[in-house]
């Protein structure tokens, strides 16, 4: 029996029986520290002898250029943006994640369709429509949700790369400056992710703490799904 399942009708022409790796997803809002944890987890998994493939949002070769161009011009309609991101996600799923799973890799996915959907829902997309659209997605082995309150995100965003137009939801005209808009927008995204955490059964990790404590919790959550590695040769 196939190890993996789809959320809905699935991908055309992909044999689920051929997928043998593990799919581990890190979710959470912008600036929560996902990429730091992905790097730590990769080292940890590799040190135990597991092959790791890390993949992130909007890294798809197909859509990167088109999406960047469209976002620079701020001319993208909401429905168009939803579908462009869905295309991007599908491309990443089929051209990166699926081949890695087929080759037996542990795939660390920095985000999945959940945050893309959350952003769309905040922009008034229909959640039911999105759920069906993303019916092609694989159900991951684990979804680890790095959860923080918006207060914790503000300094990270500010002293990190600064407030960004899209991450502040400036297209929604929620406030007349980046700070106010960021707080309202990110709170709404967090609220949607919280709903999904319940619906999809995410493992919630308190990400307001230091990176090391978060890492320890992540390891504890991942350990049970790992296949035993060969005993160390000494």
């Amino acid at each position: 029996m196939a190890k993996f399942k789809y959320y809905g009708e699935g991908l055309t022409g992909v044999d689920l029986d051929s997928l043998v790796g593990k799919l581990i997803v890190l979710e959470g809002p912008d600036s929560v520290g996902r990429s730091t944890q992905v790097a730590l987890l990769r080292d940890w998994l590799e040190s135990m002898g597991h092959a790791v493939a890390a993949t992130g949002l909007r890294r798809s070769e197909l859509t990167q250029e088109g999406l960047d161009q469209a976002k620079t011009g701020h001319t993208l309609g909401r429905r168009t943006m939803s579908l462009f991101y869905a295309t991007d996600f599908a491309d990443r799923l089929e051209n990166n994640i699926v081949p890695a799973l087929r080759a037996g890799y542990h795939v660390l996915s920095d985000r999945y369709f959940y945050s893309i959907s959350a952003r769309d829902i905040v922009r008034s997309a229909d959640p039911e429509w999105l759920k069906e659209v993303y019916g092609f997605a694989l159900v991951p082995d684990l979804v680890l949700y790095l959860r923080v309150e918006v207060e914790h995100l503000v300094p990270r965003a500010l002293y990190g790369k600064g407030f960004n137009y899209w991450e502040s939801g400036m297209d929604l005209a929620l406030g007349d400056n980046f700070f106010d808009s960021f707080v309202i927008y990110q709170s709404r995204v967090i609220r949607e992710l919280d709903k999904m955490a319940e619906h999809y059964g995410f493992i919630v990790i308190d990400a307001s703490r230091d990176p090391n404590s978060i890492f320890e919790d992540l390891k504890k959550a991942i350990e049970p799904i790992l296949t035993p590695t060969v005993e160390a040769i000494t």
Binding site: G8, T12, G77, V133
Partner: protein, 238 residues
Amino acid sequence: MTDFKSLPQHKQGVLIVVEGIDGSGKSTQIHLLHRWLQSEGYGVFFSEWNSSPLVKGTTKLGKKTKSLTPTTFSLIHATDFADRTEHQIVPAIKAGAIVLADRYVYTAFARDVARGVPKRWVRNLYRFSVKPDLAFYFRVPLEVSLERILHGRARLKYYEAGMDLGLSRDPRESFKLFQDRIMKEYDSMVDEFGLIVIDGTRTIEEQQAEVRKIVHDYLMDRLPNGKEARYGQVQILR
């Protein structure tokens, strides 16, 4: 299944679309319809399948690198369609124009399902589209369209011929098998979506006369005062 989102009350314009397999003659017919409506003084807006300036580059890249799968092929075309819906079709209809579309959602329903994408999924994908007032399906036997397309066409493109499906290594053979599948999908949609079937084997003039009559009757029906409702050179439909 037919779950189009209807436009709000202030919808004013009209949406007319043409569909059919490659070589069915639909583009010729919509061109002639366009010319006629313009000469009659209507404001006409034309939108073509797969033409969004924002999305075109991505589609082109995917086709060039042959990296599109049935799922991403379907999604990128839906993205293109969404952009045209948001930027062209909806505003033009709200402004009272007659919008003509060369290919519409039925093209996706036919092609994507022929590629193995689940029927229900692709219909849901396009749930945001505006329901056409008139949808013409130019129906020709496969041999006729193949003759028109394969005659004098140097080379069939990879996705156009359905080469990604691995039906045959020969592009012409693959194209035939793929078009046959698409046609079966179109035929099954006639009742599902109320497509108006036009016999595409008749002369261009005969087909155009039939199309014009149907469009004329529809417009007169929508315009109780006939042509008196004309505003300047642009027909405002209320």
